[in-house]
């Protein structure tokens, strides 16, 4: 085990670190996180427009179309806001002017967006459908901008000109080049293949990625990876989400659109599933383990730890439990720690696919305590029931391992106590 740990620390950690700190991935992640407050605000309106109580939902029906306005302005603009925020963050990471890059990327995004037949901006392409092309164009904009700046192909102003003025001029040449290139590609695609950039990105990138990321297998692999990382004390979700977040958000936004259109929700996997459903009490269904500590632990260590960390765990903060028990590098607890979320994820998936519980489409802050998070994300009171079942299930999975570990600790505590007593 020690050799393996050393191996992981030496070779695996730096890879995880590089992945999480990779400039473009980080800009994408931070850009998408920037949309988070809006998505939560939009979710509040979604909950109001279709509350989990049936009579109340009927009462709200006539107001649905006015309630959809704030939803369209939040969820519906996911792609548009992301293109700006990603370009801004990426430019900042190069110590370039974030604002100019963000503004240029919005223009590039609109150049690539085909208008509706009557010449309007298509709302559906501003949301998650446009998210992947937003990512590509944001990176393209900043990289081209940087290329021009590095080779000094920009208009320089003499000293003494105010920064807001010279900034606008610096962006002129690279900006024109970016718009021209995106426009050119768009024209060629249209003329030669009758396709738009949106259509191409959807076919080669968005749909395949959503297919993999939105499947049960895709989700289970992600959950497994997150918990393997945590087993070595690494913040697993930060690493995995830096690659997967765009996929999860776009899946959820498709659910929101379907919900608004009154259609059946297409996806189970998405942001709420990955942030809430298998992570009750934090990664590894840690609340289940923490409850066992408080309720059944005989060792002073686990009992004390449980009492200290139960409140954090109710709000889905699992670090005290994971590092305190510890779960990290502890073969006995690592097994259920990985197993419980995989089982809970699978059970939840099937409960949702047979219609026992509604599919999640509402985004809530990840600190929302269970079972409310279960009710709110699905807009279905049975979501709360399933979440409680999940916690009990995880407790059952943890129990035998917890008992063994607790017994070990009790023995250790007794030996140290007798040793201390004989010393006196």
């Amino acid at each position: 085990m020690n050799g393996f740990n050393a191996f992981m620390e030496r070779y695996f950690m730096p890879v995880a670190g590089k992945l999480a700190e990779q400039r473009h991935l980080k800009a994408i992640r931070d850009g998408i996180i920037a949309t988070m407050p809006l998505l939560i605000i939009g979710s509040i309106f979604l909950i109001i427009s279709s509350p989990p109580v049936k009579a109340w939902a009927e009462f709200m029906k006539p107001y649905a179309s006015s309630l959809s306005i704030p939803v369209n302005a939040t969820f519906g603009l996911l792609g548009l806001i992301a293109v700006f925020a990603i370009a801004y963050n990426l430019a900042k990471s190069y110590q370039m002017d974030g604002l100019s890059a963000g503004v240029l990327s919005i223009a590039a995004f609109f150049v690539a967006t085909p208008l509706t037949e009557d010449g309007n901006i298509p709302l559906n392409l501003m949301g998650s459908e446009g998210l992947f092309i937003a990512i590509i164009l944001a990176i393209f904009t900043v990289e081209v901008y940087r290329f021009f700046e590095k080779r000094n192909i920009v208009i320089r102003m003499p000293d003494g000109v105010p920064p807001s003025v010279w900034r606008a001029f610096t962006a002129l040449i690279p900006g024109a080049a970016i718009i021209f290139m995106v426009w050119g590609v768009d024209l060629i695609l249209k003329a030669a293949f009758d396709l738009s950039l949106h259509g191409v990105v959807a076919a080669v990138l968005r749909e395949p990625l959503q297919m993999v990321g939105g499947s049960l297998w895709g989700a289970l692999v992600a959950i497994l990876l997150i918990h393997l990382l945590w087993s070595f004390g690494i913040h697993g979700i930060s690493v995995v989400a830096s690659v997967m977040a765009p996929i999860w958000y776009s899946l959820t936004d498709e659910n929101v659109s379907a919900h608004q259109a009154g259609e059946a929700l297409p996806h189970i996997i998405g942001q709420p599933f990955m942030a809430i459903w298998w992570a009750v009490g934090g990664s590894g269904m840690a609340l289940a383990l923490t409850i066992l500590f408080v309720w059944r632990a005989r060792s002073k260590h686990l009992k004390g730890l449980g009492r200290g960390s139960i409140w954090a765990s109710i709000f889905n903060i699992s670090e005290p439990t994971i590092f305190g028990a510890p779960v990290v590098m502890n073969p006995l607890l690592v097994i259920p720690f990985i197993l419980a979320p995989l089982v809970v994820g699978t059970v939840t998936y099937f409960a949702m696919s047979i219609g026992f519980v509604g599919k999640p489409y509402i985004i809530v802050p990840w600190t929302t305590p269970p079972p409310f998070s279960g009710i709110l994300t699905t807009g279905d009171w049975r979501g709360g029931v399933l979440m409680i079942i999940n916690i009990l299930l995880a407790m059952a999975i943890y129990y035998p391992f917890f008992r063994l570990y607790d017994k070990q600790l009790v023995q250790e505590e007794q030996t140290t106590e007798t040793a201390a007593a004989t010393k006196e």
Partner: protein, 100 residues
Amino acid sequence: MKITLLCALGMSTSLLVEKMKKAASAKSIEAEIEAHSVDDLEEQLKTADVILLGPQIRYKKNELFSKADAANTPMDIIDMKSYGILDGEKVLEQALKLIN
């Protein structure tokens, strides 16, 4: 004196900060102790006298340590066990040792 703790979002370290503040006032040590997200590192390097990292973000240590080095701010990773049981006294000691 300012001690900054960093983790993924500054959430779980904030629990430890409370314990460290208690430990500091018990020893009548004047210290400003704050928890922040690791993304605020640059900002914190300007004001903090010492920076401690939650063990869950130690996979980023190469980059973080080199940045701290450049800014001449001492940095270390919090011991996993003390982190888990929120041992404010021990972590405070670790911070004080780094400053001296």
